[in-house]
Subunit: 194 residues, 2 copies
DNA sequence: GTCTATAGCTAGATAGAC
DNA sequence: GTCTATCTAGCTATAGAC
């Protein structure tokens, strides 16, 4: 694990993530990746051990980023609605600086081999923490007493799909987007009488 | 195109959709599909012409179902908020009777060959119609004057992700789910003072 | 650190017996 | 309509020259 190699290796992983987003892990060949990197497929193996390792690094680092981000949010004394706003910010921030990787996290996790179980554990824990915030919010009468699973998956689906349309916006203002998204997800789109 | 073949062919397509949902189009082999069907790969070709044809039939029929469904909704004289509720129903209904196919529609459309352009056209038109309903809703002061793209993609992302968690619910009541989902998407989760 | 060459395997699809 | 056998092409990964 020489430090000198990390720069080139990171470049390969970043390029791979871009291609994985376009066609999915299984449809991208090492030759595709090599061509995009301007080299031959065999040369890739001086920097990475396998195609599987690339997928693992993309997905696990992102999954851990979400886990630590949510743990940080949970430490605060904010209201549950405020915690939800922080979760929206977390997703917008991570997605905006790694749009490509988010595609693999969402669509190619099932192709993980040794790390599959670990990933599933992280994801399951994340959903449990998220669900818990909604439950506490209902108990404290900050959140309506609707079906918890419907609220959880409605919000989470939107946040998980962010990678699909964030790149379409030019000059992205993450602070503004987070604010607008929170508004829509929390308060809805229905116009009330002022 | 003998009618007698259609039953077996439909069975193959349905099984393929299930496998495509689990691993994605590219990772599913004709041998996998044959095994699941209890036959040999070569035998599949008595019913279908190619793997690509299977994907095409799964995706295009669903895309057309959404297109005609939205056209039907557009014909009515309902308010724009009511039209949105109908769109939610449309997605819940189509997804609940073809959960597997929805995975391909969402994640494997880029592997379409001859029909790719047609699919992209249908999807683009669908989004335009959807956006138009929101715009009209804002104009008629039924919907808040927030960022249209944020509202559009927030709602559409949730509806497009329905296939991921609808099967987790046992004894699904589509009418009830549509109602709950509309409530959350339109009115938000924030508790207001009664 | 990149290359050529290639091993070893599996993919989609076809031919033809039954 | 299903089978066995097989073709051609493409895959990941390695060996070894430079």
């Amino acid at each position: 694990m020489k430090l000198k190699n990390e720069t080139r290796k990171d470049e390969i992983i970043k390029t791979a993530a871009k291609l994985f987003k376009e066609k999915g892990y299984s449809a991208v060949t090492m030759r595709d990746l090599a061509t995009e990197m301007g080299m031959k497929a065999a040369s890739l193996y001086n920097h990475i051990n396998s195609k599987q390792q690339i997928l693992k690094e993309i997905i696990i680092s992102l999954a851990e980023e979400f886990t630590t981000g949510l743990q940080e949010i949970q430490k605060s004394n904010k209201s549950n609605i405020e915690k939800l706003r922080d979760i929206v910010k977390l997703h917008v921030n991570i997605t905006s600086h790694n749009t490509y990787g988010m595609a693999s996290l969402n669509n190619d996790w099932m192709h993980l081999e040794e790390k599959l179980e670990y990933y599933l554990q992280l994801r399951s824990n994340y959903e449990d923490e998220f669900r818990n915030i909604i439950q506490q919010g209902i108990k404290k009468e900050e959140i309506i007493n609707e079906n918890i699973e419907v609220m959880l998956f409605s919000i989470l689906s939107t946040l998980r799909s962010l990678y699909l349309w964030i790149p379409k916006k030019e000059d992205l203002n993450t602070e503004e987007l987070s604010q607008q998204l929170s508004e829509v997800l929390i308060n809805g789109i229905n116009k009330k009488i002022d």
